[in-house]
Assembly symmetry: C2
Homo-oligomer: 118 residues x 2
């Protein structure tokens, strides 16, 4: 399955998903799929990569080990980041009323598929 | 209900909870309840308050509004932060195999109770 197909499946199976992207730890988007065209995944990828790196350093410093996921719930959107490899992570933007359990499951599945491709 | 009682209920109703604390946005712990005595909630409160503030600034900058919750899943622990007021947040440490849905529900409930007291 291609990168684009793996991402498309997440958006297709999650009604409330605004968009999903695979992003380098440097913040650069490799591939993206959107339902809501207003969502700027390039900007979100760049901004949230910094937060993901900060969370990673923090978790290591308190001996919690590697961070696999970071979820930020805000008024108008929830952003879930999921580590795929040391170099790449997934970013999913979803409506706050969306099914977060399903979102996390779909991201985990996509992450396992993408790991083979990256 | 006192601050300590509200926190005790969270730990009592959640088997996999290591500890929970109410923390000022400056990182200072106001009250805490632990199941696992090895968990240093003072250090975690101080460290994670910075991450919570960063997430808040980031969400505002991309116009997602106020951050209500931040969840960091690492190998050995999951940390859930929940905003209570502009000055205080809750921090919950839970085992990665724990019931995160229930954890989020209990934190939301405790947050509503604590809001009256703070």
């Amino acid at each position: 399955m291609s990168l684009a197909e793996s991402l498309r499946r997440v958006v297709q199976e999650l009604d409330e998903a605004g968009g999903v992207a695979i992003v380098g730890m440097d913040g650069i988007v490799v591939e993206e799929q959107k339902r809501d065209p207003r969502i700027d995944l390039q900007t979100l990828g760049a901004e949230f990569s910094g937060l993901f790196r900060s969370a990673g350093k923090l978790a290591e410093s308190v001996e919690f080990g590697e961070v696999s996921e970071l979820m930020t719930s805000a008024e108008r959107s929830v952003v879930i980041l999921r580590r795929v490899t040391a170099e790449y992570f997934l970013v999913l933007v979803i409506h706050p009323d969306g099914n977060l359990g399903k979102a996390r499951f779909l991201l985990r599945r996509a992450g396992s598929q993408l790991k083979m491709e990256l």
